[in-house]
């Protein structure tokens, strides 16, 4: 993408209509099968919660007491909600990589939309958890010097896509460095 002449823009900083508009760009959703690794890790967590709840119910309250059943039902409802929430999170995660920056949108309740220009990226990292590997998925983490608030972690990418994206970003960073 050819960027307009910077001088022109410095004199007309608020001619915003002429600026490249991130919102007009189509965002790509992450792989929808990323919900399975999320389901597994959620289930793992709630498995522990269930065991704890059952122990509490058996030993401290007594299995016939109404409180025990309420406890287990509440745990189960929370588990279902967590699964639903994971599903919604996956649906909301979107990213776009352009010539000069990378953007990521996420969040069910609080919506975030972060954009990092390539010339501010410090380094990239690919991480793959156990469940990610089962589904041939990977997460791409992009770090800046701006602290954790401005770092991006895009989970649920196809392994090859993640590698390609990383290489693209790395070569672009070097390319930009040479320009300078």
């Amino acid at each position: 993408m050819q960027m307009p002449d910077p001088l022109h823009f410095e004199n007309n900083p608020l001619a915003v209509g002429l600026l490249p508009d991130v919102s007009a760009i189509e965002f790509t959703s992450i792989e929808s099968r990323y919900r399975f690794p999320l389901y597994y890790s959620t289930s793992l967590f709630f498995g522990i919660v269930f065991i704890a709840a059952i122990i509490v119910a058996l030993i401290f309250i007594g299995i016939t007491h109404w409180l025990s059943w309420t406890l287990l039902i509440v745990c189960f409802c929370l588990y279902l909600f967590a699964l639903l929430y994971a599903q919604m999170r996956v649906e909301r995660m979107k990213y776009v990589v352009r010539d000069r920056d990378v953007s990521f949108k996420e969040g069910v309740w609080f919506r975030n939309w972060i954009t990092i220009p390539f010339n501010r990226i410090q380094h990239c990292e690919i991480s793959r958890g156990i469940f990610d590997r089962m589904y041939k998925l990977a997460a791409l983490k992009i770090y800046t010097a701006g602290g954790s608030g401005s770092d991006i972690a895009i989970p649920g990418l196809n392994q090859e896509d993640a590698l390609r994206l990383r290489d693209f970003i790395i070569t672009h960073i070097q390319h930009l460095d040479e320009e300078e």
């Binding site: 900083p13 915003v16 770090y143 701006g146 401005s150």
Partner: protein, 495 residues
Amino acid sequence: MKKSEDWYLSPTRQSAFAIMFIIYRVINALVRGFWPILVIVLFQSDRFSKSTIAIGAAVIGVVVVIASILHYLRFFFYLDGNQLHVEKGVLRRTRLDIPIDRIQSIALEQPLLHRLFNVLKVKIDTAGSAGEEFSFSALSVARAETLKRILQQEKKGSTATMEEDQPASQDKLVMQLSVRDLIKIGVSQNHIRTAGIILFFVLSLGEQVQDVVGDWLSDRLDLLGEILAKNAVAMGILFGVGIVLIAFVGTLIRTISRYYDLKLWRRPDGYRVNSGLLNRHEQVVAQNKVQMLQWNSNPIKKFFGIVAFRFYQASSNVMSSAKAITVPGCNYAQLDQIRNQYLGSIPLKPTYRFEISRKLFVRRWFFLGCLPSLLFFALFILSWYFIYFFVAVFWVIGAYWYQDRYHRTWQGFLNDRILQTSSGVVEITTRMLQHFKIQGLKIRQTPYQRRHQIATLHFYTASGPVVIPYISLEQAIHTKNFFNYQVESSRKPWM
């Protein structure tokens, strides 16, 4: 080059005086870690015989000295190519390899004891996720200065200029503070905060001491408590006044000792600050490392016509004040001068002003003012204690004033080179940064904000975020696009 000038290429130890400072540091750490035991031993000395205490102290002393000497002997550093290597540790050997271009700042310090032996303390800070801070206990003045010069030269790589070698006399004095200025500054500091810290400290100390000393002291404290209880109101007022007075005098003394004879110099490539009564500090910051400028004002400062300002540097510990060069007070003309010097010919006039939505005020007043107030009102209805009623009324009015003032004082603007925001209620903080210092941008929306088409915009820099709350979503997107473009088309290195 002669061999003696190449000492830094082979593993080198610190100055032998360092042993002393290491011993001091170890004892300091021991006392900090084990002071409760120390207190027990001192207060309940009848449990231990004098000889036991003496032998114990001697054994600990010998161990500390031997450990310190070993520590000194096993500590090496050297430069190799573009890395600074440090090897240390007696039982567990650690080796640090610090790439020189990752080094953010090199600070030379000379506390009182160091001055007696003509040695310097060298602090090295690195940025990045590793976040390692590192310091040499003592180096001879000549070696410390050579090290600093070489590290700074290496950092610049092949394009090293001779600027670093120019004598300090080339630096131009921008401003300096007299004792009178310092008294004004000390008076206008945030005393309520200091009082809070002291109060918290006294309370937590009281608790700890009681835990440790037990009956011996608590009996005496109970006696004191009885006397106090008889004159509760008078004592309460006395206590409050006492804390405020201690805070006032404390900040005054701290301000004077920390910033005594402060001098701000303009170097060819940045700034230098010298200050301190007992500990002379010298901080150097390169112009291109400065990420953000911040200045603070409050009613007392306004009365004296002064502002406090800071240069924020890139830091692994975002927003750490240790990485900032602080000038606790200067007049408005000096602030203008410093701003102009830092920015060069960049215009300061706003071309666009942000308006934050009144919804922020309404929402914060509701959640932080009305809801707690309702709680107190409920307590009043339940108990009929009028104190709750007054708290409820004052809370809701106070919160209204606070949030209204926050909304009125908030300002933010941009032009083609800078972004500036001011916020606060009593203490007003203004932050200014150049567009190309921005690292990343974020638009954040809560469900409430989504319903009303408003958003909060975060600008991330290497020395902390700048936030514009509650602007219209459309405006947020336009602004984000504008800054994206500004950063992406900028060829200037951000540091």
